[in-house]
Subunit: 378 residues, 2 copies
Amino acid sequence: MKDVYIKGVGMSRFGKREESLVEIMAEAATRAIEDSGRKHFDAVYVGAMNPEDFVGESNISSAVVDYLGLVPVPTTRVETASSSGAAAFDEAIYAVASGYFDSILVIAGEKMSMVSTSVATKILSEVIDHEERRYGLTMPALAALVTRAYMNRYKLKHKDLALVSVKNHLNALKNPYAHFHKEITVEDVLNSKVVADPLRLYDCSPLSDGAASIVLTSEKTKIKVRGLGHGSDYVALSSRKSITSLKSTTVAAEKAFKVAGLMPQHISFAEIHDAFTPFEIIGSEDIGFFPPGKGWIPLVEGRTGIDGDFPINPSGGLKARGHPVGASGLAQLVEAVWQLRGEAGERQIKREPRYALTQSVGGLASNNVVIILERVSL
Amino acid sequence: MKDVYIKGVGMSRFGKREESLVEIMAEAATRAIEDSGRKHFDAVYVGAMNPEDFVGESNISSAVVDYLGLVPVPTTRVETASSSGAAAFDEAIYAVASGYFDSILVIAGEKMSMVSTSVATKILSEVIDHEERRYGLTMPALAALVTRAYMNRYKLKHKDLALVSVKNHLNALKNPYAHFHKEITVEDVLNSKVVADPLRLYDCSPLSDGAASIVLTSEKTKIKVRGLGHGSDYVALSSRKSITSLKSTTVAAEKAFKVAGLMPQHISFAEIHDAFTPFEIIGSEDIGFFPPGKGWIPLVEGRTGIDGDFPINPSGGLKARGHPVGASGLAQLVEAVWQLRGEAGERQIKREPRYALTQSVGGLASNNVVIILERVSL
């Protein structure tokens, strides 16, 4: 199995965009291509969750390759709901590791702003189990059940949970690509309108447009793909043994650590899928950074801020960088690369990070991906 | 790079089905699992073109793995329009060849019968270039342009073209999984209603429900994956230099032959993407089986029938086995395996085939996949 390295990264600005999905993807890809210094690619992988419904576009991988002038290169779209960007990265790793391809351009994006919030909620709810959908459950409603269960079981107060959002908004202030550049307070979170009790508006990531892109090669660079893992879970929340832990993350993280030959304590910082604020906390526990039920304590203590001993979501996370669903998993990796290279500008983690971990949640955690990157010496 | 083998295959019956897409996929998968003798899989790859629009289902790979009781195995959906089944197979090959996974279950399917023909036409047209779509072009309309150009350029008469459909319907009579079991004549084709002039109803593959499934492993079996290639083309037909040849097939076939170390004359038989009758002929030329403009002559001479010297679409092809879009690329491979193993029953090719080639077209040939399988000695 060949080692796989990251040769270039790029992102589009996240937020509400006037451009088409293909144009946004091309914006990110053009930056990654420029950053890589490469002109030729053996294949293009495209991560997107649901361009069919969000923008009425099928065959998106062909459209992107055509727009970028990369015809006749092979191109493939990869989809695992909201972890599609990370899953596309996984497939590109296998393809390079196998020796079939030497350099691959990965692009992931979504454009969600063409539909109304209620239509977007309906589109996103297509990932949910049929029975649960029939009872009227939506993604925020399911996340609210998880939140309520966690808060009750582990005595988490909403004012402490709100700190996820406060921290991530603060980080995004320093991220020029972020959807939001707005500092918020705990009171802002608690006073924002109820989406699905107990989740309030500022507990939920926004509907965003945006794309990220990464060039992978077998050529040695400063950033090595050290480990990856991927796990699934029952689609229905009602089928699971526990809802205060997401098994697909545990499975994915255990595999990623095994492949990497590392332990959670080796990791310098993480990008965790905070589509809803409690998911950052639960994710950090499922990965093994903190014990079950204790993930919110380091948050309250300020340890997960950019200047803390274990930064989580220095990018601003899905909450504040934004969450164009198919893009998020790859955007996490772009941030990880910038931090590892020391190129994160004002939000740079100070203590020269060596290992970065990203965790991306597909659907209501039915299909999760964990990836570990390493800064190596050349 | 590890060698990759096929350990098991299975299909659902194609046609109009009452069951859900997930149930149809599970039907095919259960047969492939049984045929493989395996119970454990490292990953599940799902090929589907557009379950979002056809059945209102997103996150299909999670749903299938859940239904099959394979949680928490990693699962990924792969999409390249109508070649999605072949593209999912490709991704599984890379993953096994890389050493990351040892055995993978690939499932590909589509359920198209829940929507009306006019809605299906609209959904399928989402693969077309925006400008061409704006002018009202649909898939049959684009295929009609290709057909007209080919007929004019190479003096092909419709009565000869119709033989593709006649042959494939005859083959499907002997295929218990086929959508159609109905012998037709040249007159039936010529007298069927116009879909998009010059294409008539019997020149077009049907809207079908169905699924296919294959188990891949690194363990040596009788069927080896010998070569694969994948190529893209401009989405807009108007951007292409020629429309009587499909460049994405040429690129994919050249790569597949190079990987395999083989030439077109080594191949014993082929499954070619005959979504529209002229595509079987054009595909056979682009792969290199016959010279440009001459692919219809062996058809007229009966050489591409099951008992001919170079059988094409012994399964009945997309025309008569049916064309559940995401499934077709994988269904071609299932047929190839059955023929190579000598298990194709009444439609078995007599002269002990050694090499099989499949060609799958994504969109209007913007994203094509070619795969070569070999029967090896154990």
